[in-house]
Each structure stands twice: as structure tokens, then as C-alpha cells.
Symmetry: C2
Subunit: 233 residues, 2 copies
DNA sequence: CGATGTCTTGAGTCCCGTCAATGCACGTGG
DNA sequence: CCACGTGCATTGACGGGACTCAAGACATCG
């Protein structure tokens, strides 16, 4: 890699806070890699050959059943980390939802580098703990919320996460944004069918809570109401 | 703490693999603490004052909504770790399902000890990564599986996890075991109601897949069929 | 202007949730 | 010992919310 100090996710990826020397070392291990929309980076069950930082783009993390049913267990954005360190097989698939750019490391190389640099492992631990919290919140959604609540929750979540994509660390929630997911994928995140998703969108639109200029774009008209509908604490 | 080297979870908790000196240091920070069935160790949203190792017993990890709906996001057993290191508030509640014994550490003390002992943080990271994998598998269950598949999956999971509770590291799956959960709690793990859980149990019993000597005891009669019903890969 | 893929909408069905009654084990007190 | 209350669990009847199946709308692209 040329120069990590110029990387646009420099301040938000796990690399943040590394000493200049460490950063340079790590940089030599990684390679930038572009992937295009729809491409799968690695498959569930395959040998875990690589891990990566997401420099730019949006990707889905999913697991599936033998009969084809698929659950999306995470959406990853710029500066997020993907792959399974310290594991033989990848427990999930990762697929690009938009064109994306990654900073890819061979897993075994990354593993040993991490073991020698506690600061990096610490960053990774904090990140994993946060992901676990998010997974728990999503289990509540999947186990207990109805269709309306699920959709409302997703829209609010997307408006926040897509708003964090800038260079600085904290930005506000967006009131208009483009969904990186099609209707089927939204269903696979929320544990709903494509038709139910569509009906809920239509209903929210009819009620004036959101506006849908086109299939992928959402504009939040009444955030307070959306928050109420999401049944958040 | 008296002597960690004699601890029954010595080889399986995060303490495993620590140097004797480190172990002794850590031991001085913790205190053994008994809790009785039904008691809540800490509440979702409260200040995260402590973390702990589970020495003995079974506990539930849960999060809930303002209207009372509750999702159990994890069941923890002997040698598991509970609490949220490096976080201000606890993102979940932890409640004892059986009488239990914990090895409790003040969180801030534990945090700084961990930061000074990379080996411990590494253990914690591996553990958290495994928990995340398990959470993902459960999201698939909650998002895509039907009632029968959910019950079958839970029974198989419990038969494995309860079988791991010995002193050695790997034991086989149990064919008969006592559920540490009542029907409501099973529902809260699986995203089902108490009645649906009961009906599924009755059906599995009628089909000869399991036997139910009493409300809490399960005996697996046809593990292959149960595996098939769980729709596992 | 069709061809194609995605989304929306409608009609009907079914699985699971809801509500309610009953069963069963256990404890307590008469 | 039995009557009674209490807490779970089971079972039944019923309804509704989401799924299924199918048709139609809409956008994009050759």
C-alpha cells in the first residue's frame, strides 16, 4: 500500500490510533482492492483466507440455509472491518451492495500482526463488542417486532449509519438517502417477504411519514412519528 | 480470591492460559459471589459497574422494549463471561436461571487490567467473536425459521451446550437433560409465544422424537429426526 | 417498442398469536 | 387427609398479520 496516512478512513478504521511505524508495517501487508456491485468477496463456509477494511462502499454480511433461505446479519459501511480473524472458516458471506473499495489482508498475516500489536487487537475487540450489541438489538427486532416496527427501525438506522460516512467521526442523521438495498434484501434483513416490505413502504408513504421519490430513495418527512412507529425505548 | 489455580473453570474461562503471576494478580481483583435463581445481576441501561466469570449455573442475557416485550439474546453457562468491558452502560440485563456462582470484577479495574495484559484481551476477543457467530446463527433462526425448526434447533443446541459443562474441554451432546428455562423463557429465546412452544413440544412428543418425563426434562429419542426438523445445513 | 427485471397491489390461505378454559403439581391450612 | 389456592403448562377455538400466488404497473435498456 502506498501511504496509509492519507487513507480516507484513516481516523475511523481499526488502523486509527496506531503509531506511525506500526501503521506503515500494517500498510505493507495490505492491498487495495476494488469490487463491483453484486460481487461476493467471500462465501460462508469457505476457508477464511482474507480480512479487510472497507474503504468505500456498502456490503452485506449474510448467512443462509441449505434450502436457500438467507438472513442478512449485517450491513457494513466505509471504515468497517470484515472477515473472521482467528477462525478457519468464514462463518458468513460478504457481498458488495454497491461498487466498493477494500483494504485486504491475508488472514494469517493479519492474525499474527494483531497478536504482536495489542493496540490493534484492542480496537478490534471494541469493534466486535459494538457489533455484538448491534446484533442483540437486531435479535429483539426479529423476535418481537411487527412489520411496521421493523421497517421504521430500519429506516432510522439507515439514516444514522449513512450519515456517519463522512471524514469526521460524528455526523447527524440524514433526512434523505438512497437505500443500498433492494426490496428483497430489505426483507432478508428484517425477516419479512418482499411483498410485506413493499406494502409497509406504501403505507408509510400514504400516511405522510416518508416520501419515496424513486424505488431506492427515501426521504423522512416525520422523523418523530417514525421513531414512535419503531417502538424504540 | 483464595486460589484461582483450583478454580473449576480454570481451564475454560478467559483466565485459561494466563501466567501464574498474572493469574494471581487478576485473582486479587475478583470476588466470588453467589446469586440465587431469579435474581438479576445487572439491568439493561444501568451503569456497567461489574463484569464476571460464571463459575457455576445458568443465566439469561436479555434486552427488552419499553412496553415489556423481552428478547433473550443469550444463555450463559459455567465458564462464560458476562458484562460489557469498555462500555459505560450495560446494553443488556443478566438474570440467573438457576442458583449460580460468579467471579465478579469491578469493570474499570478489569478494563485496565485487560489493557495491560494482551493475552487476556486476546482471549476476550476470541470469545466475543464466537458469541457474535452464535448471535448471527440465532438471527437466521429468528428471521427465517418456523416454529418447529426453532424448537428443534433449541433442543439440539441445549443438548450440546449443557454437555460442555464438565471439567474437560469437549464432551458429547446429551440425550437427556433438564431445561433451565420455563416455557415463557423458551418463547423469549425463540421469538414465539408460550402456547406455540407448548404445542410444538406436544407434537414432538406425539411423534416420538422426544420424551418429556416432566415439565423441565427433555429426553431426545430420535436425534437424527430432530436434526432434520431443525433444518440445519 | 417489446423485453426484462423490479416493485406494487390484490385475493386467498395459513401459521402463529390471542383469549379462554382446563389440567396438573405443589403447598398451605383447616 | 382433603379442600382450596396458586403457578405453570396444556389444549381448544378463533382471528389476524404476514406469507403465497398471481396479476399488473413501472422503469430501464436494447
Amino acid at each position: 500500500m502506498k501511504d496509509c496516512s492519507q487513507c480516507i478512513v484513516r481516523n475511523r478504521a481499526i488502523c486509527a490510533g496506531l503509531e506511525t511505524a506500526e501503521l506503515e508495517l500494517l500498510g505493507r501487508l495490505g492491498r487495495k482492492h476494488k469490487v463491483s456491485k453484486g460481487q461476493t468477496i467471500f462465501w460462508e463456509g469457505d476457508d477464511a483466507v482474507v480480512v479487510a477494511n472497507v474503504i468505500e462502499g456498502v456490503l452485506k454480511v449474510s448467512i443462509s440455509m441449505s434450502d436457500g433461505r438467507e438472513q442478512i446479519v449485517g450491513i457494513v459501511f466505509s471504515s468497517d472491518f470484515i472477515g473472521r480473524p482467528f477462525g478457519q472458516q468464514s462463518p458468513y458471506s460478504v457481498t458488495a451492495l454497491t461498487d466498493a473499495e477494500l483494504c485486504v489482508f491475508p488472514r494469517s498475516t493479519f492474525d499474527s500482526f494483531a497478536r504482536q500489536h495489542p493496540e490493534l487487537e484492542h480496537k478490534l475487540l471494541r469493534r466486535t463488542l459494538n457489533e455484538l450489541d448491534r446484533a442483540h438489538a437486531w435479535m429483539l427486532l426479529l423476535g418481537k417486532k411487527n412489520a411496521t416496527e421493523r421497517i421504521a427501525t430500519l429506516l432510522l438506522e439507515m439514516s444514522v449509519r449513512l450519515g456517519e460516512t463522512g471524514c469526521t467521526v460524528d455526523n447527524g442523521a440524514l433526512d434523505a438517502f438512497e437505500l443500498p438495498l433492494d426490496r428483497r434484501q430489505i426483507g432478508d434483513v428484517l425477516g419479512l417477504t418482499i411483498e410485506t416490505v413493499s406494502r409497509q413502504f406504501s403505507k408509510l408513504k400514504a400516511d405522510g411519514v416518508i416520501h419515496l421519490p424513486d424505488r431506492r430513495t427515501v426521504s423522512i418527512r416525520d422523523r418523530a412519528r417514525l421513531q414512535y412507529l419503531s417502538a424504540a425505548a
